[in-house]
Amino acid sequence: MDKLKVNIGNLELKNPVMTASGTFGYGVEYSDFIDLSKLGGIFVKGTTLHARQGNAYPRMAETPAGMLNAVGLQNKGVDYFVSHIYPELKDIDTNIIVNVSGSTIEDYAECAARLTDLDKIPAIELNISCPNVKEGGMAFGTSVCSAAEVVKAVRSVYNKTLIVKLSPNVTDITEIAKAVEAEGADAVSLINTLLGMSIDINKRKPVLSTITGGLSGPCVKPVAIRMVWQTYNAIKIPIIGMGGISSWQDAIEFILAGSSAIQIGTYNFIDPTISEKVLIGIQQYMEKYKVTHISDLVGQI
């Protein structure tokens, strides 16, 4: 199975199929449905320095081939993660990567720092693209300066693999990607959710308590593929692609667009076994076309 091995910085993935933050809980919620050790990695819930209650209900709206969410980073804070959740996860035989969020640069750095010593957390994903929080979040990911600043601060306190998750809500994603690369990120992941909105025409009110929310699911795939391709042509560090993957064909599309590995998000809700199916499909595609190593497909269009 070496033909599926992928390296992202110092992070070694047994295969490129991973699951996206905020859609996969802490992984264990899926253990009834799939064998977690088959995955290349699990990106766990968005984690912040302090506990957050998240946004008010309603937090979700269904949209054509997708959904909006406004969860707002509900989590119990990094210390709770370290003391209570990490012990439950550390024996899962795959990479567990923590998605780190914050409202200030100091929060990001402090949160990252507290994760450094966890043996079985080989990497973090810096979420500078969450559209669902009032301060920080997406604001960091939509300006070159602040994206660079937050990555710089975290890089100085975190020496394992640092993945930076980019926002698609920008005019030119390659500028942000380049800035982040320049500050020492080991990889970028994209896309986070597109900012969207939905209105209940009978109540004449926004469906979400926060008015706007993050759009995900198959509907965003063409935008995500485009951004991966643009970014692939702009930077040298690896890209972890995501946005609307619902089949192995979609995963191959992301890889051909320039992703070294992929994450599956929303579609886990519809089919909690999708990640296993995607992995099998990728293997069959590689056999059919006699691809000797998955890296031979990355960006090859």
Binding site: M60, N69, F269, I270, P272
Partner: protein
């Protein structure tokens, strides 16, 4: 343990204009997983271009002899409409069992009232059956708009006394469930309710005033149904809790509904 299963439609009975009773079994005679009263399933809807997410549907009944799961479907939008069109022999994909369950009273002399409104009657049938099996004598109070919307009455009457209200007075007492005389005439120790939120809130208020133990089954909109998306939260005295895992059944004392 939660499962993703393909079940086969064995029956699909239209009960009235908008309600359908779907009966499902396993394709290979394998035993259905154990389901608790109050739990629900997440149904995948194929063939509907406007339905992306699964649809949460309560366990209406489990017929252990026939190895059948019953789902009571109210047609609301395209998702439930497609489910209502299922034909015998068709395959339906489900995640199950999901959520917690109603809690069994401790004292065998408890006086139990199960209040259902609209499609909220769905979980009460199975809960009534389990209560009867456990030696209780549940009472059912079922509310609907009109006589033709009172569903499964024969089934309910197998497990306990059935009282009804209709908004137009075509059956039972006229008005809402909270106005039914049984609430005056009988002293209950426990109330379990599921239905439209205003109804459940009125019931909760009543129970709280009378100091009656009360559990409500919530229907917050869900994206996953198994605790990973955090979209279905209800604000409780213990913070935002997921209705799909910490519920759908809550004791009203834990909610922020009353004072």
């Amino acid at each position: 343990m939660k499962k993703m299963l393909d079940l086969i439609v064995t029956e699909n009975n239209q009960l009235n204009q908008n309600y359908f009773l779907l009966k499902l079994t396993t394709p290979n005679n394998e035993k259905l997983p154990e389901m608790l009263p109050g739990q629900f399933v997440e149904v995948r809807v194929d063939n509907s271009t406007s339905t992306f997410l699964r649809r949460p549907i309560s366990v209406n009944f489990v017929d252990t002899e026939k190895n059948e799961l019953w789902l009571l479907i109210q047609v609301i939008g395209d998702g439930t409409r497609q489910l209502s069109l299922c034909k015998i022999g068709e395959i339906v994909n489900l995640l199950l069992p999901l959520g917690n369950s109603f809690s069994m009273p401790q004292n065998k002399n408890s006086e139990l009232l199960l209040i259902g409104g609209g499609v909220g009657t769905a979980p009460m049938l199975y809960w009534g059956k389990i209560l009867k099996d456990a030696g209780f004598k549940p009472n059912f109070l079922l509310g609907a708009r009109s006589a033709k919307d009172l569903l499964q009455l024969e089934d309910f009457s197998k497990y306990g006394e059935v009282y009804t209200t209709t908004e137009d007075g075509t059956a039972g007492e006229k008005g809402f469930v909270t106005n039914h005389s049984i609430l005056q005439n009988k002293d209950f120790t426990h109330i379990y309710t599921c239905g439209p939120k205003p109804m459940m809130m009125a019931v909760a208020k009543y129970a709280n005033q009378k100091n009656i133990e009360c559990e409500v089954s919530l229907e917050n909109t869900m994206a996953c149904g198994f605790g990973v998306c955090l979209c279905c939260v209800e604000g409780t005295k213990n913070g935002n809790l997921c209705v799909c895992t910490e519920g759908p059944v809550f004791n009203i004392n834990d909610l922020k509904w009353i004072n």
